[in-house]
């Protein structure tokens, strides 16, 4: 009688899937932690330009977002417009009261000078005249928000 019987074939045991949830949960937590939700939807089309010498955006900064581009909705015309929050602005003069309101809030008021960043996402074909007129509003002594960052791609 041989020790290694060549007798009838045994059924292969099923692979245990008990650890599958663990693996999936690990992946899940990774994506949960890295997920970032976009709170506002862009109403304008933007393709940002590229640059060589760039810095990585500091997430600690409190930023105010400005979008400048042509409206996605063709019914709104094809001139370059400024979007802040969920609104397309009709005129740059609307920026100042908005920023003054923001400066009055606890969230922004205490860090206005060192930490508030004006983050510009501007289409590469937008005219500088419009960008500059927005920045003129920021330079207003009452507003006084002077740090500007331009969103760019790496070249």
């Amino acid at each position: 009688m041989s020790k290694f019987s060549k007798g009838k074939k045994r059924a292969e045991p099923a692979i245990s899937t008990a650890s599958l949830p663990d693996i999936v949960f690990m992946l899940l937590f990774f994506f949960m932690v890295t997920a970032k939700f976009k709170s506002t939807e862009a109403l304008v089309d933007i393709k940002v330009p590229a640059a060589f010498t760039t810095e990585v955006l500091d997430k600690k900064d409190k930023s105010i977002l400005y979008w400048i581009g042509k409206p996605k909705n063709p019914a709104l015309g094809s001139t370059y417009r400024v979007q802040m929050d969920d609104q397309l602005l009709d005129d740059v003069s609307q920026i100042k009261p908005y920023l003054l309101d923001l400066r009055g809030t606890d969230d922004f008021g205490s860090v206005w000078y060192d930490k508030v960043v004006n983050f510009f996402q501007v289409d590469k074909n937008a005219p500088m005249g419009l960008v500059r007129s927005v920045q003129e509003e920021l330079r207003d002594p009452l507003v006084d928000a002077l740090t500007v960052k331009y969103s760019v791609n790496d070249k």
Partner: protein, 237 residues
């Protein structure tokens, strides 16, 4: 009575639930590493029409057709050529004697110490004391820079600026290219200095470490970022 064994809860559907959540987060996650170019706007009250001598300005002009002109005579095919002009502006090549460059003064530790000692007695002054204290602070900064640079450094005239003049219909992309050219030139200079003095590229210096923060400040003293935009407005940092 015989104890009944506890029935195990079937956990096989756990994976399905986890997968559902996983797919949701996979779809909603964006992995964009956002990069930016920074600029400091000048205050309104700094909007003075100061007369600056021509040799203290590096004039960069971008017109409505997005042509870039440097110093009123060099048309650029590639905006990155600006980097070279920026480097020349700070470190004057001695070969070209007919071109006038911004003034450069040699700052030494001894000079800073003399200035600080000179200002010290005036800080007690009730009205002007503060102004003198500010002056002392400036010279203390310079002194620190001297120490880190090995005794002395060449300081470019505080009036030297890089001026960008744009048309209202110049494309934003052109402006970013100009800004990028300037920053690239400046970064190369800062890198060279940083490697020579501290054996480390400028970008790798960490501003959260006190010692390296001093190094960053010293390098910024030697090669300041001073960009001047549009109609005679200067910005500093």
């Amino acid at each position: 009575m015989a104890k009944r064994e506890l029935e195990e809860i079937n956990a096989s559907s756990m994976a399905d639930i986890a997968f559902l959540l996983l797919v949701f987060f996979l779809v909603t996650t964006t992995f964009s590493k956002e990069t930016e170019v920074e600029e400091k706007l000048p205050r309104k009250n700094e909007d003075l029409e100061i007369k600056i001598r021509e040799y203290n300005i590096l004039q960069i002009l971008a017109n409505k057709n997005d042509n870039i002109l440097v110093e009123g005579e060099h048309y650029l095919d590639d905006p990155m050529e600006i980097a070279g002009y920026v480097k020349d502006f700070f470190v004057h090549p001695s070969s070209e004697d007919n071109v006038k460059w911004p003034e450069v003064t040699k700052v030494t530790s001894q000079m800073c110490q003399t200035k600080i000692a000179y200002y010290q007695p005036y800080t007690a002054d009730p009205t002007l004391g503060e102004a003198y204290e500010d002056s002392i602070k400036i010279y203390e900064g310079k002194l620190k820079t001297c120490e880190l640079m090995g005794g002395s450094y060449n300081e470019i005239s505080p009036k030297a600026v890089i001026a960008i003049t744009l048309d209202n219909s110049t494309k934003y992309e052109t402006y970013i290219n100009v800004l990028d050219g300037i920053l690239t030139g400046l970064t190369e200079l800062r890198d060279e200095l940083s490697i020579a003095k501290f054996n480390k590229p400028y970008a790798e210096l960490d501003k959260d470490i006190a010692e390296e923060k001093e190094m960053i400040e010293a390098i910024q003293m030697v090669y300041p970022k001073r960009i001047f935009k549009a109609k005679g407005i200067a910005s500093n940092d």
